[in-house]
């Protein structure tokens, strides 16, 4: 029976999501690794559920955007690259931070505005940075990170080739929302990346909406975004972002080829955010029916089914893992609660590297000092 999905009319959106089976387990990947990805997705889901609660309890302020529904994207993409490959994203960034390896303590404490946060409580939900894990933010201005991400790729190539006299060997993943497709800066960045042969992959987390604007109300050629990349002379792929194995396999192949060729790439990553745009969104612009369609193809449930039927995990192991991530996030909340608020002297710290006038220089956050030990 064909099911019509109201509100989102574009075939590009309707073609994904829903209760389709996951791809089968990827060959050549140790089962433990896939179990780790599964756990990462569980962790992000649990973390975000608790984030919403903490926001309601006013422990978190400002703008806060959760990643529920999109977990397979950050986890699968992280799995497809190397730890030394740079990554940069927009403000819906908790999932990327956790997938990249930031501890849930530092991530949560940042939102609590505490000194133990990854940015000492100076960045907030939209600014997750993790130098040790090559995460270059967390950026609040829609699209702005695409030029910066292009610069990260410029720098890896410059270091590898001009300074070290070798071959360009790293690839940068630059995430953006579908709303950022319409920012001029993206098009400048894509043109520069194409011209300069920069190994940067623009991953559009196409969740179908920018706030309340369905993609086809704001974006031309929404049914075939590959034309955007074609205009700048580079390859594009479309990926089912609701299937972790598809994300991993397709991104791995694409990243490998962009890395080898030192060329940019473009990904239409089809996904869906289950919750509102931010904490204050009643989602009147879409139907409950549409949401249910996507929820029925939940990326976590899909991978669980594959792992269960392959005998990699059993129900008890899944339940134990769920318990574990609940405990981890509970600990993160507790830890964030106890982490002190930044001292008032932090106001004039980290403004300039060098000390002058009222400015007291800079220092690494606790998170990186711990990892150095």
């Amino acid at each position: 029976m064909t099911k019509t999905i109201p509100t989102i009319s574009s075939t590009s959106i309707r073609s994904h999501g829903g209760a389709r089976a996951s791809r089968s387990l990827p060959a050549g990947v140790p089962p433990d690794t896939i179990v780790k990805w599964f756990r990462d997705m569980l962790l992000i889901r649990e973390f975000e559920v608790r984030t919403m609660q903490a926001y309601q309890e006013k422990k978190i302020g400002g703008f806060c955007h959760v990643y529920i529904g999109q977990e397979a994207v950050a986890v699968g993409c992280t799995a497809a690259i190397r730890p030394d490959d740079p990554m940069i994203t927009a403000y819906r960034d908790h999932g990327h931070a956790l997938a990249r390896g930031m501890s849930s303590r530092h991530c949560m404490a940042e939102m609590f505005g505490k000194i133990g946060g990854c940015a000492k409580g100076k960045g907030g939900s939209m600014h997750m940075f993790d130098r040790a894990n090559n995460l270059f933010g967390g950026h609040g201005i829609v699209g702005a990170q695409t030029a910066v991400g292009t610069g990260l790729a410029f720098a890896t190539k410059y270091e590898d080739e001009v300074i070290n006299g070798g071959r360009s060997d790293r690839v940068t993943l630059c995430f953006l929302g579908d709303g950022a497709l319409n920012q001029g800066v993206l098009h400048e960045a894509m043109n520069l990346a194409g011209l300069f042969d920069l190994p940067v992959i623009f991953v559009v987390e196409n969740n179908g909406y920018s706030m309340g604007t369905a993609i086809e109300r704001g974006t031309t050629m929404a049914h075939d975004l590959s034309v955007k990349a074609a205009a700048y002379g580079f390859d594009a792929i479309e990926v089912d972002g609701m299937d972790l194995i598809a994300v991993y396999e397709d991104m791995k192949a694409f990243c490998d080829s962009c890395r080898a060729a030192s060329r940019p790439g473009f990904v239409d990553m089809k996904t869906y955010r289950y919750k509102g745009h931010s904490m204050s969104d009643p989602r009147k612009y879409r139907t409950r029916e549409e949401e249910e369609h996507f929820e029925s193809g939940d990326p976590i449930g899909k991978l669980r089914d594959v792992l269960l039927s392959a005998g990699v995990l059993d129900e008890a192991a899944v339940a134990a893992m769920q318990k574990e991530v609940r405990a981890e996030v509970k600990d993160a909340l507790q830890w964030s609660e106890e982490s002190p608020a930044p001292g008032i002297d932090e106001l004039y710290h980290d403004v300039y590297v060098e000390r002058w006038g009222p400015y007291t220089g800079t220092s690494l956050p606790e998170m990186l000092r711990e990892e150095k030990r």
Partner: protein
């Protein structure tokens, strides 16, 4: 005599020497911008640099200020040392988000994890009948933002010494040149030197009135000071700020405590400007020393006109500075 004679070079040569020396010293330094490579620079500042350093380090960009400014910022976050040339600071307005939101705030937003050691440089101020879109004086607009530094040299010696400091600085530096000064010659020694930020230069000493200025108008202040000495018997002390952030308030305050009068000359508009900031600081720190309120000379509060006579009238000039000094000294 000839052994110690200091050579004279143009302002643009001084800029080029600063960049080339720093590029020879540090492979992380590179130059990026419109027409910097094959065209030899829209104003010939980077002339010959492509031949020496090659296209991997002297990089022509398309006309995408927001894109290439952002690219430079990403590279700086990775630890490279980009020099981003804006053909004119007027065109930096389309890159405002990158240069104001990202470069100066990255260190803070990331809690000390990622700095942004980048230099943005180019022509600032009236180029000569370029009309209102091309004649921006961005100093007042941009100096408002914490996290950036701003240097504005008035002569070739300072241009070289300040630019070398800017390139080595760990923080983002906005470096404001002037098309009208690029051909100006000045003494620049062969030996290496750097000029630290936050140290104003006293260009002329005097007891009667302090004139504080930045960049090109320093020359108008000097001209006015000579006229005032010759025709009005007023001896001005002329201070060239050299950097706006950091501002060398100590030198300014010491001078005003001596002269008890002050005129600030700033080529940007007066409202919420570098000039109003300096005047406010002087009022705060020298309240009991002042014989008169701080006088200010700015560009007139209108868009930059095209017609030559109107443009000349709009900009700060020696006549306006002289009358401000006369007024400050109750001689008007």
């Amino acid at each position: 005599m000839s052994a110690t004679a200091v050579r004279e070079i143009e302002f643009r040569d001084a800029l080029r020497e600063a960049m080339s020396e720093e590029m020879r010293r540090d492979p992380k330094v590179f130059l990026l911008g419109e027409e910097v490579a094959e065209y030899d620079g829209a104003y010939k500042v980077s002339k010959g640099m492509l031949a020496e350093f090659g296209p991997r380090r002297i990089i022509d960009t398309p006309i995408s200020e927001n894109g290439f400014a952002g690219l430079g910022i990403g590279a700086a976050m990775m630890g490279l040392r980009p020099i981003v040339e804006f053909m004119s600071w007027s065109f930096s307005l389309v890159a405002a988000d990158q240069i104001l939101n990202n470069a100066p705030k990255m260190l803070y937003m990331s809690g000390g994890q990622f700095g942004c050691p980048i230099v943005f440089r180019g022509n600032d101020g009236a180029g000569g009948q370029l009309g209102s879109t091309h004649s921006w004086c961005v100093e007042s607009l941009y100096a408002n933002v914490p996290g950036l530094k701003m240097a504005i040299p008035s002569n070739p010696y300072d241009a070289k010494g300040l630019l070398k400091t800017a390139i080595r600085d760990a923080d983002p530096v906005f470096f404001l040149e002037s098309e009208r000064m690029l051909s100006m010659k000045g003494e620049v020694p062969e030996e290496e030197y750097l000029i630290p930020f936050g140290q104003a230069a006293i260009r002329r000493t005097g007891e009667d009135c302090t004139i504080v200025s930045f960049g090109r108008p320093v020359h108008f202040a000097m001209e006015a000071a000579e006229t005032l000495a010759a025709e009005d018997g007023i001896e001005c002390e002329v201070i060239d700020g050299r950097t706006i952030r950091p501002l060398d308030l100590d030198t300014i305050v010491a001078s005003v405590r001596k002269t008890n009068r002050c005129v600030v000359v700033d080529q940007s508009w007066s409202f919420a400007s570098v000039g109003s900031e300096v005047a406010a600081q002087i009022s705060e720190h020298c309240f009991d020393d002042l014989d008169n309120h701080v006088h200010r000379v700015h560009a007139d509060d209108v868009p930059a006109p095209y017609a030559s006579n109107l443009e000349q009238e709009m900009l700060p000039n020696p006549r306006k500075i002289r009358s401000a000094v006369l007024s400050a000294c109750y001689r008007a």
